[in-house]
């Protein structure tokens, strides 16, 4: 278990022996059985929190209790969660830009000057996927907007709609017609607007009510909607950035796939013979 993990798929260098595996299985089996027995034996302690949430729900600005807990009662956790997403995005950002010999819109020397979405002119396009996406992407955008709006009363909310938009972005990138550049100025703005809006709201309500993140009761609904809109844009951009930086390969490696691998992804083939 303490060996370096393998990176090649069928490499059997660091496998544990059979006896070690059986001992591990027995130990984990005993642990699991004892956990199950302990969970059966101890009775569920009744918590006062659900009753408190039901009492204060009318003053929270929304009717969905999960949204109320996420964005009003425990909004500090959500603030830090968006911060964690932004930290991971910053860690993975340098890998997501690549050299612009496909398209003249891509940034050359100044990475901030690229456009967020640009049309690829001479790369491989998957025509079936592109034809489906002409219908599917507008529907996904409408669905994401609906889910953002209806998160106040029904199941939905910022995270779900942000994930839907990120899924649409992944499909668009796979079709090959458009490519994203996440070092452009507008991409950086979209990625950070969630955290910025949240913190502006958090500090801005402090003079009125005396505590940061404590919304005034009559403004709670609109403030939650504002935070959710900014958070949706931010979450969608960051999740798409995460996929983009993993699916882009650095062009000087110029990969030669193995025999089991037959599907190229259009945004990362940089054939040097193509002019």
């Amino acid at each position: 278990m303490f060996h370096t993990p393998n990176l090649k798929e069928h490499d059997h260098a660091n496998e544990l022996s059979v006896i070690t595996r059986i001992l591990c299985a027995i130990a984990i089996g005993t642990l699991s059985l004892s956990l199950i027995i302990m969970l059966i034996v101890t009775d569920n302690p009744s918590s006062v929190l659900p009753a408190l949430v039901q009492q204060q729900l009318t003053q929270s600005g929304v009717q969905n209790p999960v949204t109320a807990v996420l964005l009003n009662f425990r909004s500090y956790d959500t603030l830090l969660e968006i911060g964690v997403l932004l930290i991971v995005a910053v860690a993975m950002l340098p890998n997501s830009n690549f050299i612009s010999n496909i398209n003249s819109d891509m940034p050359g020397n100044n990475p901030s000057s690229g456009r967020l979405v640009s049309v690829v002119t001479n790369a491989q396009v998957n025509p079936t996927l592109e034809a489906v996406l002409r219908w599917l992407v507008p529907m996904i955008v409408v669905m994401a907007g609906y889910m953002l709006w209806t998160g106040a009363a029904l199941p939905g909310g910022a995270f779900q709609s942000g994930a839907l938009l990120a899924g649409a972005g992944v499909l668009v990138q796979l079709s090959g017609r458009l490519q994203f550049c996440f070092t452009s100025t507008i991409a950086k703005l979209l990625a950070t607007i969630g955290l910025i809006a949240f913190m502006v709201v958090a500090v801005g309500v402090a003079p009125t009510t005396g505590v940061i993140l404590q919304y005034p009761t009559e403004l709670a609904g609109p403030l939650i909607l504002l935070i959710e809109i900014a958070a949706t844009l931010s979450i969608a951009t960051i999740l798409l950035l995460l996929y983009n930086s993993l699916a882009t390969q650095i062009p000087e490696m110029s990969p030669k796939p193995l025999a089991s691998n037959k599907q190229p992804s259009a945004s990362n083939k940089q054939p040097p013979a193509q002019e």
Binding site: M1, P5, N6, L7, K8, E9, D11, H12, A13, N14, E15, L16, R21, C24, A25, I28, G29, L31, S32, L35, I36, L39, I40, N44, S47, L49, P50, V53, Q54, P65, V66, A68, V69, L70, F73, R74, D77, T78, E81, V84, L85, V88, A91, M92, N95, F159, I235, L239, L242, S245, L246, I250, M253
Partner: protein
């Protein structure tokens, strides 16, 4: 056997399977898969103890699990990125050094 009990057993089972896979599996992507399976098990335990027979389920635990799902994908993305970087740098050093 009530619904809660069934899902509690499933969650501990998932956690155990994930832990065994984390220790035993040799490839790094399988280890990341095992960690994700362990986190699914933990979330299932939280949600199973949040559901009540009558009335609304506990929304604080649901919000916690929602936060957990998003942080889990962030951690998985970072781990996969580091695995890719180890692979790239290892191959670069193989090409230059040896």
């Amino acid at each position: 056997m009530s619904q809660d009990l069934l899902y509690i057993i499933a969650s501990i089972g998932l956690f155990g399977i994930g832990l065994y896979g984390l220790i035993v599996a040799p490839h790094i992507i399988r280890k990341i898969l095992a960690i994700n399976i362990m986190s699914i098990g933990v979330f299932m335990l939280l949600v199973a103890s949040a559901s009540t027979v009558n009335g609304t389920p506990d929304p604080v635990l649901h919000a916690m699990v929602l936060t957990g799902i998003v942080v889990a994908i962030a951690g998985t993305a970072l781990a996969l990125f580091l695995a890719g970087k180890i692979h790239t740098l290892g191959q670069a050093s193989d090409k230059d050094g040896h």
